[in-house]
């Protein structure tokens, strides 16, 4: 019955139409535009406003930046070139200042024939931190990480090679003492020995040892005073040394804050809250004006070192909070598991808790570092020549008096490059952690 139907009813189709392509508004760029930019009246309006803003900014800054003059010896010369080629009304950047002064913005007053030293130090630091940042690097290289700070110190400041070596020996003394004594007298005695013996070594032995070694074999490179440090190098040195030095301190503070012991916990809380409650700039002024009051009469050491100490203390409070977050994020079963295995507190921390907690905290530590690195610009207020300090110095010279934007843009771009890539790294770590914990 149904098979006759098709012939009797004329309007039933018996062949399929060929497929047509979708309407032009549903494919390709048009569809994308419709969906993403003009899906509604408000959206269209927002799109147009945004495009206008982008156009406005680019049309004002673009020609100024692109048409900038790269080849001149001073601002006056820049203006002469501009007047000759573009007319007096044109407004163009004078990038020549960067060509003339880039070495000061990057290295400060560091001797120019020694620029290889900070660069090499940065590479050594990168090599030292690689095993910590990427777990594909072989574990054996962790020894390099331990050595890197001393090598960097020596490369940056120079002087006799025996100074960092005799200082590093203190850690070796502590390590050996812990190994020997914890075996025979227990881990607590080992810990105490590992703290006390290096202290005794540094106070009593390292000085004479350094003197003797230096006299016996005076090997060394040219000494550079910290006053010569400046520009981005100063920011990086302060930022990196503060973050590296503050890590152990921050971990101890975080553990103390989690502790059951009332006095230890209270003092850690007070320290952390006081440091975090007061702006860095006040701490920097404290380092500049007051640190000499708190130390024995007659002690005096240079401002860069004082700033590094102060920024280290400052960073340690922030690191402590990050690590505390990591400790709290660890499931309680891990602590209980360690206890049920009969591990002592320090064993449990060292073998079970800290490896996991620190891994969780690394993105937070990187973010703290980004904040700290940006904050190093504040040292300009206590007279250190960081990039902003140098931009003031360059502006004070007769050649470049009155140059603002070019320097600010360069400094901003450098900071952006550094901080943005660190931020991406921290994001990558967070994603990786999420994948691993799933």
């Amino acid at each position: 019955m149904s098979d006759t139907h098709a012939q009797t009813v004329s309007y039933v189709r018996d062949t399929m139409l060929p497929e047509t392509s979708p309407p032009s508004s549903q494919v390709g760029a048009v569809r994308w535009l419709r969906e993403n930019l003009f899906s509604s009246v408000t959206n269209a309006l927002l799109t147009l406003i945004s495009i206008y803003v982008v156009y406005y900014v680019i049309s004002h800054i673009g020609p100024w930046m692109v048409g900038g003059i790269w080849d001149a010896g001073s601002l006056a010369e820049c203006r002469e070139i501009r007047d000759a080629t573009l007319g007096t009304d044109a407004s163009v950047a004078c990038w020549a200042v960067l060509g003339d002064r880039w070495h000061q913005l990057l290295f400060g007053f560091y001797p120019s024939d020694l620029y290889w030293r900070p660069i090499l130090a940065l590479i050594v630091f990168g090599g030292g931190i690689a095993p910590i940042m990427f777990d594909k690097v072989p574990r054996k290289t962790l020894i390099l990480s331990a050595l890197a700070p001393f090598v960097c110190f020596w490369l940056l400041w120079g002087g006799s090679i025996w100074l960092p070596i005799s200082a590093a020996l203190g850690f070796v003394v502590g390590y050996i003492a812990y190994g020997l004594i914890s075996k025979s007298l227990g881990s607590l005695a080992g810990m105490i020995a590992a703290l006390v013996l290096p202290l005794i070594y540094w106070i009593m032995i390292s000085g004479p040892l350094y003197g003797a070694l230096h006299n016996a074999a005076p090997i060394g490179i040219e000494f550079v005073e910290s006053r010569a440090f400046g520009g981005f190098m100063l920011s990086v040195v302060i930022g990196l040394s503060a973050i590296v030095l503050s890590l152990p301190l921050g971990i101890l503070l975080a553990l103390a804050r989690q502790s059951d012991l009332f006095i230890i916990k209270t003092s850690a809380v007070v320290f952390i809250e006081v440091i975090r409650g007061v702006p860095l700039i006040v701490w920097l002024f404290t380092a500049q004006l007051l640190l000499n009051y708190f130390l024995p009469p007659g002690t005096n050491f240079d401002l860069t070192l004082r700033v590094i100490i102060m920024v280290t203390l400052f960073a340690s409070a922030y690191i402590a909070e990050v690590v505390r977050g990591g400790l709290a994020a660890l499931p309680k079963g891990q602590y209980e598991g360690a206890d049920s295995l009969g591990l002592s507190y320090w064993q449990a921390m060292q073998l079970i808790v800290l490896p996991q907690a620190l891994k969780i905290s690394i993105p937070g530590i990187v973010n703290t570092f980004i904040g700290l690195f940006k904050d190093t610009t504040l040292v300009v207020f206590i007279g250190l020549a960081d990039p902003i300090g140098f931009s003031n110095l360059i502006r004070a010279s007769t050649d470049w008096n009155g140059i603002y934007w070019e320097l600010f843009i360069f400094i901003g771009a450098m900071f952006f490059l550094f901080c943005f890539s660190m931020g991406r790294y921290s994001l990558y770590l967070e994603n990786k952690l999420q994948r691993e914990n799933r």
Binding site: E35, N36, L37, S39, N43, L46, T47, S50, I51, V53, V54, L188, D260, L261, F262, I263, I264, S267, E273, V274, R276, G277, V278, P279, L280, I281, V282, F285, T286, L289, L290, N292, Y293, F294, L295, P296, P297, I370, K374, D375, T377, L378, V380, F381, I388, Y404, W405, F408, I411, G412, F415, F416, C419, F420, G423
Partner: protein, 425 residues
């Protein structure tokens, strides 16, 4: 028939202090206390020794001495014969002013940017990403200097507004003047002011924001009472709706309650709009925001706004997609879904980091130093220390001020956190 006897109590041995966990914690704490006490004692004796060597004493008496310097922005009356203590208070008021202004604008910018960053609109999305990343990755100090350079270099000086054919002109019907020295806005003056006639024409050098403080207090009080009244009307409407199912129309009573009492007070006080005008080489009257304040305010708002935008974005993303879908399934409009379903849940995630951003903004306001804004660091921690040579006392007071401020804010945050915490079994 043998009575149970207690096991013999072992005598306390000294080694228990180390090996017995019951006593070890006490030992450790006593040692720690001794070390901390020794450290503090060491610092204090060093300080006393150093002070004695310099011939200084430890005395807060300088706060009562005459300051002898001028402050260019005052929210409370002050002149250079007043004490250092009062100068510090003026500085504190200035710090709080820029902090509060910054927090409000940063919140607005941050929420808008955070929502726009989640927009499906590609251009808006990317523009906001550029804004957020740009401000998050470049030091605040650089932004403050940059914005200050824009404000003070690129804007015309007041004298550009003078003459028959001025090169600059006022905006919005001759009521707003943006100059390199600062921004002039119209303000509300009171002809029948409660605090005397000077509220209309403030003394030279006064920041007019502060004028007629008593009048503003009265107005705000009346407004608050009106708001309470509106709340009561709404509650009553809800009660009627619950019992009868019909919500009475109340918008006109609400509107009346909002406008009429405040309007009456404003009329009684003789409120008039005072616009700034050129007098001599400068503008006079109106509200004056110094360029230092403007650039600090703008920089702090934009910088913190970028951080708040990320916070808001994370908060909204933290609410699971099912919530929005369920709301849509119930037939809710997108706007109501946002305000009734998503935002209340996102708030729990947003508020704690938001408060710590406010805290950061307040602490960052000490960068006022870069533009010469007279905040507490500039008065108490700057000129006062330089004039009296009391670094130790001055820095202690400065630190104590910031510490108190952040402790107050973080206590408030903890109370809020506890009240909104999800109840877990």
């Amino acid at each position: 028939m043998s009575a149970m006897t207690d096991p013999p109590k072992p005598a306390f041995r000294l080694s228990q202090l180390i090996y017995d966990t019951r006593y070890r914690s006490i030992t450790i704490q006593v040692v720690a206390l001794a070390l901390i006490g020794w450290g503090i004692w060491w610092l204090v004796t060093n300080t006393i020794g150093n002070l004695a060597e310099l011939g200084k004493d430890f005395d807060f008496g300088f706060l009562g001495q005459s300051a002898g310097y001028d402050i260019n922005q005052m929210l409370i009356p002050y002149d250079n014969q007043d004490t250092h203590g009062r100068a510090a208070l003026v500085g504190i008021a200035n710090t709080l002013l820029v902090a509060v202004m910054g927090c409000i604008t940063a919140l607005v910018i941050g929420v808008l940017a955070g929502v726009a960053r989640l927009s499906k609109n590609w251009v808006v999305n990317k523009l906001m990403a550029v804004y957020v990343e740009g401000f998050r990755n470049i030091p605040l100090l650089l932004w403050i200097l940059l914005i200050h350079a824009v404000v003070s270099e690129a804007l015309p000086q007041p004298n550009a507004f003078r003459g028959a054919d001025p090169s600059a002109s006022m905006l919005l019907g001759d009521s707003v003047a943006l100059t390199g020295r600062g921004f002039y806005f119209p303000r509300i003056g009171f002809t029948n002011s409660l605090s005397g006639a000077e509220a209309v024409a403030p003394r030279e050098g006064y920041t007019a924001v502060a004028s007629g403080g008593l009048d503003w207090l009265v107005i705000l009080g009346v407004l608050a009472v009106s708001l309470v009244g509106i709340k009561l009307i709404r509650n009553r409407a809800s009660r009627i709706q619950e019992s009868s199912g019909v919500r009475p129309t109340t918008w006109y009573t609400q509107l009346g309650l909002l406008i009429i009492p405040t309007g009456i007070v404003l009329t009684v006080l003789g409120a008039t709009i005072v616009t700034p005008y050129l007098k001599g080489f400068n503008f006079t009257e109106g509200m004056f925001l110094r360029s230092a304040l403007v650039s600090l305010w703008v920089a702090l708002s934009l910088y913190t706004g970028a951080f708040i935008a990320e916070t808001v974005r994370a908060g909204i993303l933290s609410v699971s997609k099912g919530q929005a879908e369920a709301a849509a399934a119930l037939g809710m409009q997108p706007g109501r879904t946002m305000s009734l379903v998503i935002l209340p849940q996102a708030m729990r995630v947003i508020i704690p980091p938001l408060i710590s951003q406010f805290l950061n903004l307040t602490k960052n306001s000490s960068l006022a130093l870069a533009v010469g804004y007279m905040d507490v660091r500039a008065t108490l921690g700057g000129i006062t220390i330089a004039q009296t040579g009391r670094e130790l006392e001055g820095m202690l007071l400065l630190g104590a001020f910031y510490l108190t401020l952040s402790l107050v804010i973080s206590t408030a945050m903890n109370i809020y956190n506890n009240s909104t915490k999800l109840m877990e079994r």
